[in-house]
């Protein structure tokens, strides 16, 4: 193994971690409120707290449209937005914008389906005790759904690791980019193998950690 490979792989790993970390945080910031809104404005029998069919329908459509965009297209379409938000349209920082926006609707759906699992009877009991809507969300819905939310978060991070491999298109760097540019285009399979192994390890660590947290939570219930 040559020193150049090691240093390049390290650098790419850092870029991937930064992209995944920040886009996870931002996609949660965007997706969590949308997911909660999708759930609480839904039908009462499926656990909606403030049913409003029109709003729910419109929001649901928007989420679907965003979700059906192929990521590679979103990446290019959002170049002007990245420039406005982070001041540049290329590089790791710029890639975080489309990554977050691509993952947000996915996160919203994951959160919505996790909240749907909460027993409507429990919600009714909390309502009968005089909980405000806000209390129903942060003291009942979110804690009750926590294991499912953590599983969803695990899935989101793993998806984002996959998406981040495409960030090379706009000079975002990262392991995927390294594998394509060096490993594939320059016929240096050692790069490809190294990048793939590190991605594999990352995914495995995230999955195992997520499963462990969920298991620990369930054992206390």
């Amino acid at each position: 193994m040559d020193a150049q490979l090691i240093s390049q792989v390290m650098e790419a790993t850092g870029e991937t971690l930064i992209m995944v970390l920040f886009s996870t945080v931002f996609s949660l910031v965007l997706g969590l409120p949308i997911g909660v809104l999708l759930h609480i404005t839904g039908k009462e029998e499926s656990g909606g707290i403030i049913p409003s069919p029109v709003f729910n329908n419109v929001l649901s459509r928007i989420v679907n449209v965003l979700r059906s965009f192929p990521f590679i297209i979103l990446l290019i379409v959002l170049i002007p937005l990245s420039r406005v938000i982070v001041g540049t349209s290329i590089g790791t920082k710029a890639a975080i914008v489309p990554l977050s926006i691509a993952a947000a609707p996915f996160v919203a759906r994951i959160i919505e389906s996790a909240l749907k699992e909460v027993d409507p009877g429990v919600l009714q009991a909390a309502k009968a005790m005089g909980s405000t809507n806000w209390q129903l969300v942060y003291k009942v819905l979110l804690p009750e759904a926590m294991p499912a939310l953590i599983s969803g978060l695990t899935l989101t991070i793993i998806n984002l690791i996959g998406y981040s491999a495409m960030a090379g298109t706009i000079g975002g760097g990262g392991l995927g980019d390294l594998a394509i540019r060096y490993g594939y285009q320059r016929f240096r399979p050692s790069y490809l193998v190294a990048a793939v192994i590190i991605i594999l390890i990352m995914v495995e660590i995230i999955q195992v950690a997520g499963d462990m947290i969920v298991k620990k939570m369930m054992s206390k219930r």
């Binding site: 009877g121 429990v122 009968a128 005790m129 005089g130 909980s131 003291k139 219930r221």
Partner: protein, 330 residues
């Protein structure tokens, strides 16, 4: 707290779940509302407990109208009632103590006060020391005890029990009913018990309303209703009860034609002999027994009366004069 319902109505599309219900639930009692599934009792309790609004009609707690409350006022009023459910509806994300603490947390009580009150409530329902238990490790009866403690945390004046014992075995049902009775007396609660189990009404309630197809078909003290059921639904509930309970000894499988019910003082006098002597009617007793209904003994007897229709009519008339309720075709 005295609950008054005036001409309550609630439709779901073409289904008239509750039609024109007017009821007076006196303060400081255990009041039963019994009905078959689909009779409208669940909707009724949702209307009375402010979980749902009636299409028309009014609900009063003492003299305060509550069915039209909104926003903050509604939330504040809900905090002063307690409710328990068939499926307990406990928070799985919280342990027993956390569940009991919830209603106090949402009205902003301070932590020290809450944890003190939680301990009090745990021992009140017989679960001292179990505060840290995860909900899934508790038995059905223990879960309902936690739910009762949670419902009573903020010292409500009304407790609604929505089929609270339907998921429990008979023994646990008895212990939960005993607990509710004890707490009712201790805390001067008005308890409204929605159920489809006549034994719950018999063992715990002072008054009962029978609901069928969204209407109240019968209302009165439990001993009156047991001694003298008027509607078919009520008779059905009571006869199912007598079959289930072994307190009635049946020594013939053939149905008796008449069911006689003796209550209070009538259980002590030799009515059957008197009637037999005076009218010349003969009695063939098929089954008989005594039921205790809210502290009062009610004798039940399944009989055939002979020898001819004339003496049957005379006997039935006379029995009724003695205050015995007679059920059956003359």
């Amino acid at each position: 707290m005295h609950i008054k319902l005036k001409n309550l109505k609630r439709d779901y599309g073409t289904l008239h779940a509750v039609q024109d219900v007017t009821l007076d639930i006196p303060s400081n009692t255990i009041y039963g509302i019994i009905g078959r599934s689909g009779a409208g009792k669940s909707t009724l309790v949702r209307l009375v407990s402010m979980l749902e609004r009636p299409d028309s009609g009014e609900v009063y707690y003492d003299d305060e109208r509550v069915d039209n409350l909104e926003g903050k006022a509604l939330i504040q009023r809900r905090r002063r009632i307690g409710m328990i459910f068939q499926n307990f509806n406990l928070f799985s994300s919280r342990n027993a103590a956390g569940n009991i603490a919830y209603p106090m947390e949402i009205c902003g009580m301070d932590r020290v006060h809450i944890s003190k009150r939680v301990e009090e409530l745990l021992s009140l329902v017989g679960l001292q020391g179990r505060g840290s238990a995860p909900i899934s490790t508790l038995s059905g009866g223990q879960k309902q005890r936690v739910a009762i403690a949670r419902a009573l945390a903020c010292n409500p004046d009304i407790l609604f029990c929505d089929e609270a014992t339907s998921a429990l075995d008979p023994q646990t049902t008895r212990s939960i009913l005993a607990l509710i009775k004890e707490l009712q007396a201790k805390m001067n609660l008005t308890v409204v018990m929605i159920t489809h189990q006549m034994e719950v009404v018999r063992d715990a309630c002072e008054r009962v309303a029978v609901i069928d197809s969204g209407r109240i078909v019968e209302e009165g003290t439990v001993s009156d209703i047991f001694a003298n059921p008027k509607s078919e639904v009520t008779k059905d509930f009571i006869s199912n009860l007598t079959n289930v309970k072994d307190s009635i000894v049946r020594w013939s499988d053939e149905e008796g034609r008449f069911t006689l019910r003796f209550r209070g003082n009538t259980t002590d006098s030799p009515i059957i002999s008197n009637v037999s002597i005076e009218t010349g009617a003969t009695f063939n007793i098929r089954a008989a027994g005594v039921q205790e209904v809210s502290g009062e003994d009610i004798g039940v007897m399944v009989v055939d009366i002979g020898p001819d229709e004339k003496s049957v009519r005379a006997a039935v008339e006379m029995l009724r004069k003695y205050g015995v309720s007679v059920e059956g075709e003359v």
